[in-house]
Symmetry: C2
Subunit: 707 residues, 2 copies
């Protein structure tokens, strides 16, 4: 227990700022609490009133005849800190600050938040908000909110970071007959955040699922731990906005600019087994299905429909969402031949034809529910002249109830099919207005199943075969920091990577032309030369890179050209020399990198390099540490994986080698918290082998660790 | 007029197969026609009944006291031909065949269709169906269908290729208060197809838009002509299913396999100015907005919202749909500062805050409607404690009415905002349940504006600078056809392309090693050698390609190796020799091709070549003939365009040259109807120049010309 029990199950509630004025928050709070069946005591508190709604009003929480479980504060923000102080001295167990005028209005509000946080610290009092609507708990008839709508009782816990959305969500939920165990407006999470709530809800066996509308999170580490634990037994569904809100901060590496904040959230959700849906409207529909239907064992769908068009739409959606149209076995086809009219489609989608009576739907569903190649069924009904929508609903829901397979309904239309929807609702079969939505929900269910399978999987230990000398690496860092250099040059970067067994092309430093020629001779031609200077990070832009040098003469000339170009491009730069490296031939380029996300700390990015990096954004993100399963998954989510796995023979590699590189890389990132960004770009695929031919490690003094 | 006036405005209707049996189609038809206000005469026809619904029944249409404008046939399919014959002899002007049991059940049904087509041919009688629901025309109170729902009167024409979907669409339309001038179920289009209907509807000035649910089309050429003409003044909106139904036919070229049927539809729609929406549900919402609101002049949206979350969701949707969040001018910001509370977001989305009264919405809307940087506004309302949804609706709708900018509403929730939605409906302001949908509709409106701008544009004539000798090309075709070869070799293919001024790397034929060496010497090294054999189309798979040959010796050896490998791979192939060509250096590859689509005839495909072709499907499709505008648009729709336009300097080309290549290529395809497929793959970008280094032309005796 984390002290939230008194908040969500209070025996006494004080409303500070209670009011008789209609339309005011203090009035709405009282109206929602009084006379609604709540079994505890409600105390209005307001120094300016004698009574509110006919109930005696007290001047301060310190005047009340008992210690209070929950104080709801609805006053202007500037007096909230003193009120919280009073709550603490009155031994109030918990509080909701519904007032706005805090962090969201800027500095002044942030100061108020800090003040409240410091008042509360160490007291054990828990605070929901500020800038929230409160919460509703229908089973105990507690509506501790100023929402304009009430919630139906049910088994879903909903947490919304937007108070303004709550009424719309409640409105939709009522319309869809969706009920809640908890409906919580979380506000700006001064004291109680998502992790606290997930941990609290986890204790409540009644809850079937958590649905969250999220804008951002605080305390990523605890959130991940709580979410992973919860997801293992029940689903968390999240609608997060800000999908395209790219971080505006300038990044030194490609990885930095490509691993946008939202892509990292996506990776974190996947890692935690969280189902991410596209919109708030999908939240409820998806949560309903996840709670009410068995999870599919795979992505193979059968579609039963009485109309061709919607069957095709469903098929489109199946492919778009990465699921599959189940290939029916010969036995199933033979059975369907027996129960369907002669001219049925003989195909999946199974068209039971426009004149289908309820029994025909029933028989067809019975066959596919017993079919081994089917993981889930979507039953579509488009009302036609002699269709009996409600009777079909009844027979379908009854069949579904007996089966362990996922069944979702799609009764198309409005008033004509409304009675049928009512039947489905009562029988607990989730149904949707369009085939697209039903298919999307199925795909969410399947991805939840895949994600939690990953959570349970115990990957094999992988022997990396290299024992990095951390001391040696730290010495390289220190050497650079001593001369105030944060962006390690290629020679240093590659030396460090080699410590972790990450393959690089041999690269050495040369201070002058003579030295460069000597090193080139030792490495063997063709050779690449690149300038080495702390002040020049973009070597190509400075025309300070020379490739494919075939002879000693060419190396000598290149040295001169590169250093003189570099001097022209950056007159104040100190040119330390050049890096000399053997050219690696290969036309496929990969990228592997890491950046330090402001919310989650270090993240790993893998993808196709070269032109494709920015043009096609073929990338995949994961959070360290990685095991083999996680590394595999990162690789497989890219398109370039197809090539690496041998789609065109010439780029085929040993995937185990790449997985090891990712694991070692993630280990490196975790071993050295001072790493800010890394780019291995490109890693060239050359005759089945991998070579990081350019590398850049950026270090700092500290970093956000997501903790 | 195309003879459809009697069908859609009949003074007399005969129902052949009229019935008293509830639930039967013959009964539903009568029920929908009788006593509903239709001003003409309805004659039931049925040899087995004396009367239907109390009305005298005739044995045959030939027995009726007058010539009939419209006969509706609802009998088993096998007797339909004889009934149609009777209609013809009774001089019936038009017919609807609602019966099923035709093309959709296979061969036997197709024969019936052919029989009916031949009976009707030349008689001038027009036939809707078979396998359709009929049509509804609310203004004349004609419900010539067996639909279970009726349509409200309005100004939209809806055509559905799926009869089974009609009831659902009607149901949705009633719920959304959308009315129709025509609601037509088109069935299998034996005699009346989309083109006929569009041409007919074009004459009706009342109609504001056409919405189509489409599965496929017949007579593509006429469809395109009719659609282009209509789109120029009023929108056609199409929901087409079968998006992912790839043609299963084996294709010889990449183009053939990549230009899937649906992608060609997409290109055709764009060309015709048709707005394609994603789902049937979007049809009505989009048609409503296109008919009721001014078209946006660009893609810059302002969002006004009383809640942060939905504002972020709208922003996500704006970016996802390729629109832009308008950057407000300093003047507009200053004006907003004056009308909004101190702590407003100072940003677009414009957050008018949770306590926004109607007037504040009104003032903010007034500012952005006058702002030059704004093309359209989405007004979002999420009901909060003191929100007055209906009053906001009124003020917003009134402002919108006075403006020439696009305004769409999004009132979130259900019963709480329903009265407000009613206000918006009455005032004619389109509104949607979610920000995502409102933004999507705006983006549809903007793409309609772009498409019709293209329709009106008169592109400059481009001088291609080459006068192809058709005679010479025909001679090459004939030479190949004479030896029964349909897949032209590289030497022949490139010779033909050069006629059209399409740049290729010089490629010559060599029958033996000595000849190959001589040609190589003339061309200059490095050289590529590829086998030439009518029987070997996949040269690389046969190991019969040798690249980067640097000397005469290497060419000599390569010739031996290639021909011997080819013999091993295809023992029965006749090896004619090799092609000798100069290597072109360059790391960016493009593809240009053509295929013969089963519906639309020849199509052009352009995109990124090499690995990207299949991995990223970076391609764009257009229909010939191309002018410069169309060629430009094709190129710009690819991602590789960014590179060609200079994003990374090294791939920058003169885009005019590429446009000329596309125009010449499209001319070539049209000049020679025997062309089945062409692949120029790859075209290499080498130092700003383009060279088709592999080419394959596939010819046949005839082709589908889309006519």
């Amino acid at each position: 227990m984390n002290g939230l029990d008194k908040l969500f199950n209070p025996e006494s509630i004080a409303v500070i700022g209670a009011s008789n004025q209609k339309g005011s928050v203090g009035f709405s709070l009282m109206k929602n609490l009084i006379g609604s069946g709540y079994k505890g005591t409600v105390y209005p508190v307001n120094p300016n009133r004698k009574n509110v709604m006919g109930i005696q009003c007290h001047k301060s929480i310190t005047d009340l005849p008992e210690e209070i479980d929950l104080a709801i504060i609805a006053t202007p923000s500037f007096i909230v800190p003193s009120l919280v102080r009073e709550c603490v001295s009155a031994k109030t167990k918990s509080a909701i600050i519904v007032s706005s005028g805090f962090g969201e209005i800027g500095k002044k509000g942030q100061e108020l938040e800090r003040e409240i946080a410091s008042i509360v610290r160490g007291t054990g009092m828990r605070v929901l908000g500020p800038n929230c609507l409160g919460f509703i708990r229908p089973d105990k008839k507690i509506n501790a909110s100023f929402a304009t709508r009430n919630a139906l009782p049910g088994k879903m816990a909903l947490i919304s970071q937007s108070g303004a959305l709550c009424s719309s969500i409640l409105d939709w939920a009522i319309k869809q007959n969706v009920g809640f165990k908890y409906f919580i407006s979380v506000g700006s999470m001064l004291n109680i955040n998502f992790a606290d709530l997930i941990e609290f809800i986890e204790q409540d066996k009644d809850v079937e699922s958590i649905a969250i509308y999220m804008e951002t999170i605080k305390d990523a580490k605890r959130f991940m731990d709580a979410a992973i634990r919860f997801s293992k037994s029940k689903p968390i569904i999240v609608a997060k906005s800000g999908r395209f809100n790219e971080s505006a901060k300038a990044a030194i590496s490609h990885t930095g600019s490509m691993a946008g904040n939202d892509a990292v959230f996506e990776a974190a959700f996947r890692r935690a087994g969280i189902v991410r849906v596209e919109s708030v409207q999908d939240l409820l529909g998806c949560a309903k299905a996840l709670a009410g239907q068995p999870l599919p064992k795979g992505n193979r769908l059968a579609i039963i429909t009485n109309a061709g068009g919607p069957g095709v739409m469903a098929t489109d959606a199946v492919i778009k969402n990465g699921c599959r149209i189940a290939a029916l076995s010969n036995e199933a086809m033979a059975k369907l031949d027996r129960v369907l009219p002669k001219h049925w489609s003989r195909n999946n989608p199974i068209d039971v034809l426009g004149d289908a009576p309820p029994e025909r739907y029933g028989k067809a569903l019975n066959v596919v529910l017993k079919e081994k190649n089917v993981d889930g069924v979507i039953v579509i009904l488009s009302p036609q002249a002699i269709t009996r929508p409600a009777e079909v609903a009844k027979i379908v829901a009854e069949q579904a109830e007996k089966s362990k397979k996922t069944v979702l309904g799609c009764w198309m239309g409005e008033s004509f099919v409304e009675p049928a929807r009512e039947v489905l609702r009562k029988k607990g079969l989730p149904s949707y207005r369009t085939p697209e939505k039903a298919v999307r929900v199925f795909s969410y269910m399947n991805s939840y199943r895949e994600n939690i399978a990953n959570l349970y999987e115990k990957p094999k230990e992988i022997e990396l075969g290299s024992k990095p000398s951390k001391k040696r690496i730290r010495a390289i860092f220190d050497k650079n920091l001593a001369r105030k250099n944060r962006v390690l040059d290629e020679v240093d970067s590659k030396e460090i990577l080699e410590e972790y067994g990450i393959p690089v092309n041999k690269t050495v430093f040369a201070a002058n032309a003579k030295d460069a020629v000597k090193q080139a001779r030792l490495l063997g031609f063709p050779i690449a030369l690149k300038v080495v200077s702390d002040e020049i990070t973009h070597k190509t832009d400075a025309n300070a890179v020379s490739l494919n040098l075939a002879s000693e003469k060419e190396v000598q000339n290149a040295f001169k050209k590169i250093t003189s170009n570099a001097r022209k491009a950056a007159p104040n730069a100190k040119i330390r020399g050049v890096s000399v490296q053997k050219m690696v031939a290969g036309s496929l380029e990969l990228i592997l990198g890491s950046k330090n996300d402001s919310v989650f700390g270090p993240v790993i990015l893998f993808g196709m390099g070269g032109v494709a990096t920015e043009l096609f954004q073929d990338k995949s993100i994961g959070l360290p540490p990685l095991n083999q399963t996680l590394a595999k998954n990162i690789i497989r989510r890219t398109k370039v994986y197809k090539l690496l796995a041998g789609y065109r023979k010439k780029f085929k590699i040993n995937l185990l080698e790449l997985e090891k590189i990712l694991i070692a890389f993630s280990q490196f990132v975790l071993d050295f918290p001072e790493i800010q960004e890394i780019d291995l770009n490109p890693i060239i695929v050359s005759k089945g082998k991998l070579y990081a031919v350019d590398a850049r490690i950026v270090i700092g003094n500290q970093r956000n660790t997501g903790k």
